[in-house]
Symmetry: C2
Subunit: 451 residues, 2 copies
């Protein structure tokens, strides 16, 4: 029987993360203070982030050791399988070889715990008692709750109120892992109270939830804040994905010509792509494709500029591809990709020409997901379906040209909590959204005046 | 780092199933025709089952080869991990070593596809075009839909109407894998039409859904019927679980003193336990514990007697532990354990004193599941929580006696589609159900007059 899945033994769990910053041909533009417009002193972040995470955020070391305590939790589901999608290849009648790295096997169901576990650990050893965060649909919140349960940390999640009520499954998941989940806006914080005073029925937003989570971290010495994407240290932690995949491609005796991931904040793409990018930087011919939704096309239609990471303008300014912090994307079902900006490291890789971007409509992505489920068995998250669609586009190009390319994509998460979205897709109720240029122009006009 | 998970390479995927019938000290009582009261001619089953499956149903061969086509689909998620539950051990402060075989990684999320794939394959090579089946909450229906998608078979699922409307997630899963799902009772069958004529608002039942699925198989030469538990060939296919676990226990340098599974129809328990049972039959000292719900206690409070396998009295009579085919269990959340009978092979093993049974309340099981999720990360299915609770009981006994026993249980499925039940548990809304003896007596009084 031909090899279907490469399963590394536990002894092959990476012992170090890979830091792409060490190998970039130019230095990454630093975060900037919104008032002084000067590069931010990393120490300023210590009020809400663990020291070691800030150190990693700016580190230029190529390899950063993974603590054994973190590896022990990773070992609950890592190494994850690398799978040859032979059935999908056959269905497409493509000469291309398609592989995917399956990050859906973590207990919360996605790649997110790769960084949640590391963040919980570093906060724990620093003496922090509680972590706060925000969550929309619940992917990040459930991953942090999961991670905190292993290090005896309290976990406080502000969940966008409308999701809290409409998407109870991920909320229950967080509660099972011991987290306290509060619908946001809440009466617990000043900013929550202020909003509720003026609008008692406010459905909440990610921006408001961030403000609440940051506020409790600022006001309580025993509490830190955590972020599930965008930042450099998050990209770093996710590189376990690509480091495992490298070994596994070798087990198949193969090597990717094209590496693909979906992008919202950018972390699952970075996790798979960055370890392979160092081979491109060393001269190997490879392509890298970041797949984003047409409804939120920061890489393909945004600007590469300094902007706030959040809609409430609380964060430092980050140089990134952005649609403007006031941009509100349409309510597509890939909730994890509805972010106005993009990780500075991913943005910089695109700017340097190392990474290409492609924007996709949600229906073509759901159609790709259906084909994937029928051939490879796994029901992917709507976010992940963008990577699958991008991989299929590449495979169909090979069918036309006859090229036998090797395509690798990241299966960042499963869609078992998203079957409601699939129901709407199967019922023909989903629509594609053509984003008018005026909407982008309007949001971009509000960009802060820092080039 | 100590070994956490044993991951066998794909080359260790079993090439044969193990047939316990070859090693039992006495022959299993055969199925009996309800009218003649004579042992059933297996050929009578050919109208609705594939020939090879009937051959396996009565085979006395110890080892039965697994076709490569079946192994190729198994390889999508098998071999599954065997995990040492060190975090759970620590939380319990037990000297016992606890292991679990993780069957939750299959795309439908449970052990069910182990037999669904084999059944789909044997029907396919016999020229059958379509498979019919019934499903309650949807675990079996989704596994069969998944399996059919790989062999180009149509899949027709009659889903209990109340579940069809109340539990749309598994229905959508089936539809994504290409199955046609019909709420039962339906207008498509004679028996459905008859029921709807007298009760247009009938919410349906598993018994009615079976009748519809069997009817379409009887009336259409190109359609066969499939069953997800109870029958001997189903137990056979599930033995891949225990065969892998045997090798994996050796990788840990350990061997189970106690093997545990939850039981509804009996297939996940049999799958893990039967390959280990042959060592007990060969003289090794081992215990086997089947964990059932107190709300449906066929092994602990039922009779070992001939009874119908279904509530509608359509099936042959099977010798098994039963609460009577008319028994209607309370609406506990472990829907997969709400079966009045028990697989004849599991029943016989209990009768022979090879297997013990324990009955558990649902709240203690949910509590066990919560502890398991907080320590080992995985949210188990409510059915599976019975096995976890039974394992914890054994581990706590060790804590009292100081014995360093080795406990192995089957993590038969995840609970991501059951988070609604967990929500009710966390809200304190679940109740334990003390089953009155009169209810059992009443159902047992209707047993057919065959000893």
């Amino acid at each position: 029987m031909e090899l279907k899945r490469s399963l590394l033994p536990e002894s092959d769990l990476p012992v170090e993360w890979y830091n792409l910053l060490a190998d970039l041909p130019e230095p990454l533009p630093p975060p900037i203070h919104p008032l002084t417009k000067e590069p931010l002193d990393p120490a300023a972040l210590e009020r809400i982030f663990a020291k070691e995470l800030i150190r990693q955020e700016v580190s230029q070391e190529r390899w950063i050791g993974i603590p054994d305590e973190v590896r022990r939790v990773y070992a609950l589901w890592r190494p994850t399988p690398l799978v040859r999608a032979r059935n999908l290849e056959k269905a497409l009648k493509t000469p291309a070889r398609i592989y995917f790295k399956d990050e859906s096997h973590s207990p919360p169901g996605s790649h997110k715990p790769n960084t949640a576990v590391a963040q919980a650990y570093y906060n724990k050893i620093q003496g922090i008692r509680r972590l706060s965060t925000e969550t929309g649909a619940g992917q990040w919140g459930s991953s942090l709750a999961f991670a905190c349960s292993f290090f005896g940390l309290e976990c406080k999640v502000y969940m966008v109120k409308v999701s809290y009520h409409q998407k109870p499954y991920r909320r229950v998941m967080m509660q099972l892992w011991g987290a306290t989940v509060t619908p946001s806006p809440s009466e617990e914080t000043e900013c929550g109270r202020k909003i509720l005073a003026s609008d008692p029925n406010c459905p909440g937003s990610l921006g408001i939830a961030i403000s609440e989570a940051v506020e409790v971290a600022l006001k309580n010495d025993d509490t830190n804040y955590t972020l599930g994407s965008v930042l450099n240290h998050v990209m770093l932690h996710q590189t376990v994905i690509g480091l495992e995949a490298e070994k596994q491609m070798k087990e198949f005796g193969d090597w990717p010509d094209v590496v693909i991931g979906c992008v919202g904040g950018g972390s699952n793409f970075a996790g798979l792509a960055f370890p392979f990018l160092r081979h491109k930087l060393a001269g190997k011919e490879m392509r890298f494709v970041a797949a984003e939704p047409k409804a939120c096309p920061s890489l393909t239609r945004g600007m590469y500029r300094y902007d706030f990471g959040d809609t409430s303008m609380l964060t430092p300014l980050l140089k990134m591809h952005t649609l403007g912090h006031s941009f509100v994307p349409a309510g597509i079902h890939a909730g994890g990709l509805r972010y106005h900006g993009m990780a500075p490291m991913v943005s910089f890789a695109v700017k340097l020409g190392l990474v290409e971007a492609v924007a996709l409509h949600q229906r073509e992505c759901f159609e790709a997901a259906r084909l994937f489920a029928a051939t490879e068995g796994i029901i992917p998250a709507p976010e992940t379906s963008h990577a699958i669609r991008a991989a299929i586009i590449e495979a169909l190009k090979c069918k036309e040209t006859g090229e036998e390319k090797c395509i690798l994509f990241n299966l960042s998460g499963h869609g078992i909590c998203d079957l409601g979205a699939y129901e709407r897709y199967l019922a023909g109720e989903l629509e594609d959204y053509e984003l008018p240029q005026e909407q982008i122009d309007q949001a971009l006009a509000e960009l802060p005046a820092v080039e």
